[in-house]
């Protein structure tokens, strides 16, 4: 028996144990230990996959990956993807292990792999361990600087990697992100740009586009309908198509565009895209609907500001807010970023609101809300998320909007799963 097979069996045992013991961590631990045992696992198991798509960027990876997954599945393709935001090598290894045969150590029959990779993991895996047919660059924003470093150094890393990419790869770039357009010079293969008519990303927000910036594919007539979704048109080869996505905010249009172009390159029919959107449900905590409200992940200034923009138009008398700010490694240990998000947007609708602040840095969150214009009497601090959730739901007249950082979201999913409100995330 080879070491590779042993690594796969080891991974499978860990997957089994985490499931029966309900200890979570099912998306990273199997890959982590299997890789310790057999470091070349990812390269060997991915080499026979017919088509591979890699998605990177600061925000929107999970949503883009999920949409593309829906489109491909609708077309009847067998797809594997790393889910639940485990976008390092170990997350990919875990996915590969759970899709491998225990007897032969070979990957099951798949048509397409969709890998979301974080900004740094991209450089570690592409192209040596993962050879993508399509690479998507969604955006680059200030994120957790303690983990990823500054935007300049992220771009430098990507450029280096792109110089190693072969001619048969297609690179898709969000052309409304000026920082990303700079990557074009480092690319020898085919590049296509996508974007939204009249929009341009500047700093943490979008501004009106000025001058001529011809992109290969543009969304037009964007109509933002808050949490009910977004409508827009796409002109593709002289034909105009109308789309409606069940996700709020302008940024999700970019995620859709990336998934859409990719689907077209993979030969997925437009009709499959449209019918997949009909039953699309948002990813894990990304504007995810619950019986009593919504969960909207916040993890960096841009993402949070975008969520607040959506909430501004949605909040009504009787609604409540629950913020859960953690400073664990996966959240970023620096909570300074909350001061770069425009929580001031809440002040316009704040007079009737009550906000509960939870998480390891609950006090920092409470302070941010005070300086954003909420009265201290409207702000409650409850570090323990389970208690905070209970308190937030007691006597709730309207809806509850929960805004957690990443590890707070994981904890929240567990709490909700235990009480039966939500399926456990590994079943997604």
């Amino acid at each position: 028996m080879g070491y590779k097979l042993l690594a796969i069996i080891l991974g499978k045992v860990i997957i089994y144990l985490t499931k029966i013991l309900k200890i979570g961590g099912g998306s990273a631990a199997p890959g982590y230990y299997a890789l310790k045992f057999y470091p070349n696992l990812v390269a060997e198991l991915t080499k026979d996959i017919p088509k591979t798509v890699v998605i990177t960027g600061t925000n929107g990876k999970t949503t883009t990956s999920r949409m593309l997954y829906y489109f491909a599945r609708e077309q009847g393709l067998k797809v594997i993807r790393n889910s639940t935001g485990s976008n390092l090598e170990r997350g990919i290894a875990s996915t590969l292990i759970s899709n491998s045969h225990m007897s032969s150590g070979k990957l099951k029959n798949v048509d397409l792999a969709i890998w979301e990779l974080d900004e740094a993991a991209f450089n570690q895996l592409v192209p040596e361990k993962i050879k993508p047919d399509i690479i998507i660059f969604l955006n680059v924003f200030r994120d957790q600087l303690d983990r990823y470093g500054e935007i300049d150094s992220i771009l430098r890393g990507w450029k280096k990697t792109l110089e190693k990419i072969g001619k048969d790869t297609t690179v898709l770039i969000n052309g409304d992100d000026q920082n990303l357009l700079g990557l074009k010079n480092s690319i020898k293969c085919k590049v296509e740009t996508f974007g939204i008519e009249d929009y341009k990303i500047k700093g943490e927000g979008t501004v009106k586009k000025i001058g001529e910036e011809k992109l290969d594919l543009e969304a037009k007539n964007v109509n933002l309908l808050g949490l009910s979704g977004t409508n827009f048109d796409i002109q593709d080869r002289h034909e105009t198509w109308s789309f409606s996505i069940p996700l709020p905010g302008i940024y999700h249009v970019y995620d859709f565009l990336a998934a859409y172009i990719t689907s077209q390159k993979l030969g997925i029919g437009r009709q499959a895209v449209i019918s997949a959107l009909d039953h699309y449900s948002p990813a894990f905590g990304r504007a995810e609907k619950l019986d009593f409200g919504y969960i909207l992940l916040i993890k960096n200034p841009t993402g949070a500001t975008q969520v607040l923009e959506t909430l501004k138009g949605e909040l009504k008398v009787g609604d409540r807010l629950l913020f859960a700010l953690n400073d664990n490694i996966a959240d970023g240990t620096d909570v300074s970023w909350i001061w770069d998000s425009e929580f001031e947007m809440l002040s316009a609708v704040s007079s009737q609101l009550s906000a509960i602040c939870s998480g390891t840095r609950a006090e920092d969150m409470a302070l941010r809300l005070k300086y954003a214009g909420l009265e201290p009497e409207q702000i409650i601090i409850q570090r323990d998320l389970k208690k905070a959730l209970k308190q937030a739901r007691e006597g709730l007249g309207g809806r509850l909007f929960i805004l957690p950082t990443y590890t707070a979201l994981l904890r929240l999913q567990k709490i909700l799963a235990r009480e039966g409100t939500k399926e456990h995330y590994w079943k997604e």
């Binding site: 200030r142 470093g149 700093g203 620096d334 909350i338 001061w339 409470a366 941010r368 300086y371």
Partner: protein, 261 residues
């Protein structure tokens, strides 16, 4: 009363949480009925003497920092800032801003960036990033509660009341020159250089520091000290700021001290 806050290079020097310092200064003034105007000074803007009551200078990425270093000299903004600080105009500079206001910055394998020389300090590029929560014991400020409006040198040295809390993320190592006054002594974290336990620098009413966090919201005593100094210079009289309810500020401060020191 009215206060003009000059935000230096806000588009280029705003790496992480720098807005929090502006928000804290603005709100804490406005809550006391002091009108605040925030003026941005970017590469294309001119800075004249006597037009700004309080300066804020945030941190930036390497490329931005080079641009700004050049402009500080070319536009003579640097000279004016130095003159204003000599006059007693308060200033807060964080991370990159702090480095540029020292005497020079020496990057790896590149030419020295000449600083403005407000702070008697210099910075050299380091090999490791100094990242993490930081707690500093400052003999200069009361951070908590009732004495927030003024500097208080009499507090017992080991009292948590005069701790400053924040988050640092830098690879540059700053060294203070002989006789320079640090902002405080590191209790937990790296500070100026990870070697001599000093953090930040104070010269007249100018404060330089590596502490993000954001610094001022969780350290309201420092925010109020800057506001007081600005108003005193502008209106030529002693100012006692109206006390504010700092319950949430103190909770956040205390939580950080307890967790990280």
């Amino acid at each position: 009363m009215k206060l003009i806050i000059g935000h230096l290079y806000p588009e280029l020097m705003n790496i992480y949480g720098d807005m929090g310092n502006i928000i804290a200064l603005q709100k804490r003034a406005e809550w006391r009925g002091i009108e605040v105007v925030i003026k941005k000074f970017s590469i294309e803007n001119k800075l004249k003497q006597g037009k700004v009551d309080l300066f804020f200078f945030g941190g930036g990425q390497d490329q931005a920092q080079e641009l700004v270093a050049g402009d500080l000299v070319a536009s003579s903004k640097g000279k004016i800032i130095k003159k204003e600080v000599e006059k007693g105009v308060p200033l807060l500079a964080i991370c990159g801003g702090y480095q540029l206001l020292g005497e020079y910055y020496q990057p790896h394998n590149a030419t020295k960036l000449t600083g403005i020389g407000v702070f008697p300090a210099y910075t050299v590029a380091g090999d490791n990033r100094m990242i993490g929560n930081i707690v500093v014991q400052s003999s200069w400020f009361t951070v908590h509660g009732q004495e927030e409006t003024s500097m208080n040198n009499e507090l017992p040295a080991k009292h948590t009341m005069n701790y400053l809390v924040g988050f640092e993320n830098h690879s540059g190592k700053t060294f203070l020159k002989e006789g320079a006054q640090p902002l405080g002594q590191v209790v937990k974290g790296f500070g100026n250089n990870g070697e001599d336990q000093t953090e930040g620098c104070i010269y007249k009413n100018a404060v330089g520091s590596y502490m993000h966090g954001s610094l001022l919201p969780k350290n309201p005593g420092l925010a109020d000290w800057l506001l007081t100094k600005a108003l005193e210079l502008k209106y030529g009289k002693e100012i006692a700021l109206e006390p504010l309810d700092n319950t949430l500020e103190n909770l956040a401060h205390k939580a950080a001290v307890l967790k990280y020191s």
